[in-house]
């Protein structure tokens, strides 16, 4: 017995060796592969909004109070807290190449300049700016989480209410090619589509879907659900379909961007206060491209 105890204890400890780390992804669509494209070792912290444009991934690095871009494997910081940024939320590129972003702590609308970033519109009325979309007719639309309103900000920085209807937290917005505006309300878990003339149509979602960020790829709307760690794909007038489930340290999925080749980029905030996070990419496999 005296010999048996240490042997059993040693065997028990040996059996406790790690079989994995603390994050997992369940991929329901076999036509995608998944890879980490950036993490803390690359220089990002806890990323939120993402934008893909012309081979560059723009990142609203909320944990690091910075706007960065990832081009290939090269990460560059475009603006940081020295410009007054606190919690960059989401970002969009206008037709003239200006990179605009929102900040849900500093408020207002911001743009990246060669010297960092500057505020385009003040935080009055937009104290918690969240969703952002470029208006094809000029200017930028901004959703405010404090008032629940969506504003239009012209190039000269004048803001006016775009949509009369109030929401609770217009967290993410995206323009469709037809000019209509999708707005995800993350507080009441609703998704709306506003067409010209402000006609509002609610897109019915399952009761357990809490839309965090949305992105369009063709006619497909991609939705992250940070409350449940789910990535959804939704065809026009179709039902949302779960593409992937992010678990444990990956569960808090936030921003999303779609590339023209079908790649989907997702930001993950593992621990915002500790500045930990990842960006993963879902890429269509060779078989699915054929």
């Amino acid at each position: 017995m005296r010999r048996l105890v240490p042997i059993l204890m040693a065997a028990m400890l040996a059996a406790c060796g790690g079989r994995g780390d603390e994050a997992a992804i369940v991929l329901y669509d076999n036509s995608f592969s998944v890879a980490i494209i950036a993490d803390n070792s690359d220089g990002i912290t806890s990323p939120d909004g993402l934008l893909w444009a012309d081979g560059v991934l723009y990142i609203a690095d909320e944990g690091g109070s910075a706007i960065r871009k990832l081009e290939g494997a090269v990460l560059t910081t475009l603006a940081d807290k020295s410009s007054g940024i606190i919690s960059p939320e989401d970002l969009r590129l206008s037709a003239d190449g200006t990179l605009y972003f929102t900040d849900d702590s500093a408020g207002g609308l911001w743009r990246v300049t060669p010297r960092g970033a500057e505020r385009v519109a003040g935080s009055e009325g937009m104290s918690e700016s969240e969703g952002i979309a470029v208006d094809p007719a000029g200017g930028v639309d901004v959703g405010d989480g404090a008032s629940g309103r969506v504003f239009h900000v012209s190039e000269n920085g004048v803001s006016e209410e775009l949509i009369a209807a109030r929401m609770s937290k217009p967290e993410s917005m995206v323009r469709a090619p037809d000019g209509s505006l999708f707005v995800a309300d993350n507080r009441t878990d609703h998704l709306y589509r506003f067409t010209a003339g402000e006609a509002r149509r609610e897109i019915m979602l399952p009761s357990d879907l809490s839309p965090e960020s949305i992105a369009l790829h063709g006619s497909t709307l991609w939705i992250t659900d940070s409350s449940n760690g789910r990535l959804y794909r939704m065809e026009q007038d179709g039902e949302p379909e779960t593409v992937a489930l992010f678990l444990a340290d990956f569960a808090n999925i936030n921003g999303i961007a779609a590339a023209p080749n079908g790649r989907i980029f997702i930001s993950i905030q593992s621990d915002l206060s500790a500045g930990e996070g990842y960006i993963v990419a879902l890429s269509p496999t060779a078989a699915s491209k054929r």
Partner: protein, 263 residues
């Protein structure tokens, strides 16, 4: 290598699931109903406790049974500690989907297993959830099995006290408790082996203590049990009911206490 053996053994055990509603329902009953799950082993314990023998044999037997009971109440916290040290280990029913885990900063795909879900019971519900995008944190922590630790130690302790009752308890532990958990996709065979090993290690430590530092207290409890058979029987009933439910009440109380203290 070990993972391959695990998958092969799992897929073999899973052959009995999803083929007959009756068998699935019986496995669900054995997994979810405390009386059916741990009741037979608790009955073996009481059988060994009361089965006639000379005074010396009875005293030795009851000392072993008392120490076994004490060990069982140590196993739950030990297993919590043990499972907190390991990484993610999705249940087989989760790994029937394409699962990728983060290991040392890189993503590693796990082998997707061929899995047939049972038609009814907890595993059937968890499988529906996993297919629909719902996986609870507990379903990513199957290694090692708490049930295997608890009931392997329970049955082994009875076996050390009395061979015949112990054999029945070990038989039920393997076929009534461990096999359904593997067959329905709740656990891997390695979860069971590691859990049983951990439970046996705790039991061995407590038995060793019982023969050294705890000789006095064990003898005192036995004297009290002789004097107060009514109280002894009532206490044994409560403690064994708790063990049979795999410490369900204590876990609930711990959650409540943690909730109250955390407010």
């Amino acid at each position: 290598m070990i993972a391959d053996i695990d998958i092969t053994l799992f897929e073999a055990a899973n052959q009995i699931a999803g083929r007959s509603f009756t068998l699935d329902a019986l496995m669900a009953l054995a997994m979810e109903n405390p009386l059916v799950k741990g009741g037979p082993i608790a009955a073996c314990f009481l059988f060994a406790w009361w089965y006639r023998a000379d005074a010396e044999t009875l005293a030795k037997r009851r000392a072993t049974l008392l120490l076994t009971l004490a060990a069982l109440f140590l196993i739950a916290p030990v297993m919590k500690l043990v499972s907190s040290q390991g990484g993610l280990s999705p249940r087989p029913l989760v790994q029937s989907e394409r699962t990728i885990v983060l290991e040392s900063g890189a993503l590693r795909p796990l082998s997707q297993v061929a899995y047939t879900a049972p038609e009814t019971g907890l595993a059937a519900g968890l499988t529906r959830g996993a297919k629909g995008g719902t996986v609870a944190p507990n379903d990513l922590a199957s290694f090692p099995s708490d049930h295997a630790a608890l009931f392997a130690a329970f049955a082994a302790g009875i076996f050390l006290a009395m061979r015949t009752a112990g054999l029945v308890a070990l038989g039920w532990g393997v076929f009534g408790i461990m096999l359904p958990r593997v067959a329905t996709g709740m656990h891997w065979p390695s979860d069971m082996a590691a859990g049983a090993l951990a439970g046996l290690a705790v039991l061995a430590a407590v038995l060793l203590a019982g023969r050294t530092v705890l000789v006095g207290p064990v003898a005192a409890v036995q004297v009290w049990a002789e004097k107060c058979p009514g109280w002894t029987q009532a206490l044994l009933f409560l403690l064994l009911a708790e063990v049979a439910s795999a410490m369900g009440t204590l876990q609930r109380l711990a959650e409540l206490a943690s909730g109250i203290l955390g407010r």
